[in-house]
């Protein structure tokens, strides 16, 4: 019977789990293997006798070198980092304050306003970039980091506001009332009591906002044009695909290195992040 149970556990638990992990990690494996594979192997046709797409015996760092030396990849990394950080900070600041107001202050149209903010989040970027392009042009900030720093909050603020609103609502309002009776003004109650408790939520919102800005493609593609202003996703795809020639090795190297900062951010805050998603405040 116990043997049977173990057998069942393999079928119903370990094998699906294994398939899931393989499915999730395979793209990363593919990026790594393509980055390290020499060009000669990369462009070998499938019916070649030594065709082995999943492994290489001749790893090389040529693609990484060419990425770092022949393109402006370092500049792109720096641009992306700067834009993502500033846009995240702006959005987090606005999102925390707006989320608090919507969750706590009783004012007319609070519910409606909350819904309206959410609806703006639902407007697709593929639609919104057209009017935004006009505005960018009018203010003459096209082809500068400001074009993205100021437009990313259009989808980051609604996102942060909603996430924070939910989080603030989960914090018992008695905590704040007690603080106000204890002698704190409303803003002091927020700064000393609510914000410290909301740190996991703020971190989650920040990580999400950072990832969204880091990966953002369409605004970056439209609003930036000179190579030295580009972000990683746009830079890699526009400079390493020339006409119909794909520099697969360098493309994958760019994608791989470009995903490292996000991975670091995630792993660094993972505990808080999970706490933020489950959204519990234990008294």
């Amino acid at each position: 019977m116990i043997e049977g149970a173990r057998w069942k556990k393999w079928i119903w638990f370990y094998m699906p789990l294994g398939a899931f992990i393989v499915g999730l990690l395979f793209p990363f494996y593919w990026m790594v293997i393509t980055t390290l594979r020499p060009d000669g192997e990369l462009y070998r046709p499938w019916n070649h006798p030594q065709y082995s797409p999943f492994w290489t015996w001749n790893p090389t760092l040529d693609h990484v070198k060419s990425l770092l030396q022949e393109t402006l990849f370092n500049q792109w990394m720096w641009n992306t980092m700067l834009i993502a950080m500033v846009a995240t900070l702006i959005s987090l600041f606005c999102g925390v304050i707006a989320g608090y107001a919507l969750a706590r202050l009783r004012f007319r149209w609070a519910g409606l306003l909350g819904t309206a903010i959410f609806v703006t989040y639902l407007v697709p970027q593929t639609l919104l970039f057209i009017p935004l392009a006009e505005i960018i042009r009018d203010y003459r900030i096209g082809d500068t980091p400001w074009a993205l720093i100021l437009t990313y909050p259009t989808f980051l603020i609604p996102f942060c506001t909603w996430l924070m609103m939910g989080y603030f609502k989960a914090i018992p309002k008695e905590l704040e009332e007690c603080a106000r009776i204890d002698g704190a003004a409303r803003w002091q109650a927020m700064v000393y009591i609510i914000l410290p408790i909301a740190v996991p939520g703020i971190l989650s919102a920040g990580i999400f906002a950072f990832t969204l800005s880091w990966n953002e493609f369409i605004y970056a593609l439209v609003f930036l044009s000179s190579p030295e202003q580009k972000t990683v996703p746009v830079g890699v795809t526009s400079e390493l695909i020339r006409g119909d020639v794909f520099f697969w090795g360098s493309l994958m190297a760019g994608a791989l290195i470009g995903s490292i900062p996000v991975a670091i951010v995630y792993s660094f805050f993972v505990e808080h992040y999970v706490a933020g998603m489950t959204g519990s405040v234990k008294g």
């Binding site: 008695e174 603080a179 106000r180 009776i181 204890d182 002698g183 704190a184 008294g283």
Partner: protein, 363 residues
Amino acid sequence: MAKVLLRDLNKKFDATHVVKDVNLEIHDHEFVVLVGPSGCGKTTTLRMVAGLEDITSGEISIDGRVVNDLAPMDRDIAMVFQNYALYPHMSVYQNMSFGLRMRKFEKPEIDKRVREAAEILGIQPLLERRPRQLSGGQRQRVALGRAIVRNPRVFLFDEPLSNLDAALRVQMRVELKRLHDRLETTAIYVTHDQVEAMTLGDRVVVMKDGVIQQQGAPLELYERPANRFVAGFIGSPAMNFVGVTLEWTDHALWARAPGVRVQVPAHKAEVLRQHSGKRVTLGVRPEALRIANGAEAPGSTFEATVDVVEPLGSEILLNVRAGESAIVARVDPATRVNPHESVRLAFDPAKVHFFDAATEASL
């Protein structure tokens, strides 16, 4: 040390009128308990005193100063919440000192007060712990400590014991009473538990549907309830109510219900005679009933059939049926009766209440 005055206090949430013309004077050092079923407006009243709810109309003053438009922090009050509302990211010490830090007290003074309060409550060993590391009773003590370090003019308690288990609640009730005797701070305490109200309050205010039904010393409410609601709410098990018709025959007033006929005691008869022929509600507490021993006056006993016997050790609760009415009697623990047996119950004529059937006011 303060006197709190509520005058014509009203509160409306949109269309719902939750507190209606409440007038209440709370004296210095007094411990007043607001009690009533949920939704009776007691908590809203307390929150208005705290400044957490706006006042729709009326006036609240503390020590003669109208506080209607004063922020909670400026009213010099302290409040203990039902869920304790301890700040989860702070240690017990930080929790207790928060109010003093906000009010810019000197460090040594803060330290002195926190340690004094901790000693009174017996929580000195817990000062460095976080709220999540404490048991329910300990959290309750910390919440109390946070209130007393401030040395406020008024304590407000919002059902502070209802999250504790039964044994702990009894213990904390005694501690609260001892604490109040020691600190002598004016206190307003909200609860739905009439036992807490009776044991803690110098004065008990019974509320229902936003209206004060009666206020007075605990025993006064118990012995002379102003209406049927108060009579039924105070006392456990609750008072028995029987709808009766009054009849004047044989130079005496009789109360009749199907299967029951008892004589109205002489001291009540004079007042009630004018209601002769009408329906009124008779109320008698379970503890005013006993098994008849044959020596009673003929009009003060009635026949009943035992339905359920609940032996509690110190007493026995008899659920009986008399005619169409279900009645609970609290009888001597030595009594031996079985379900479906017939018993004759006697009542103490001095402890019978009558209420108007329509207005429910005491007659």
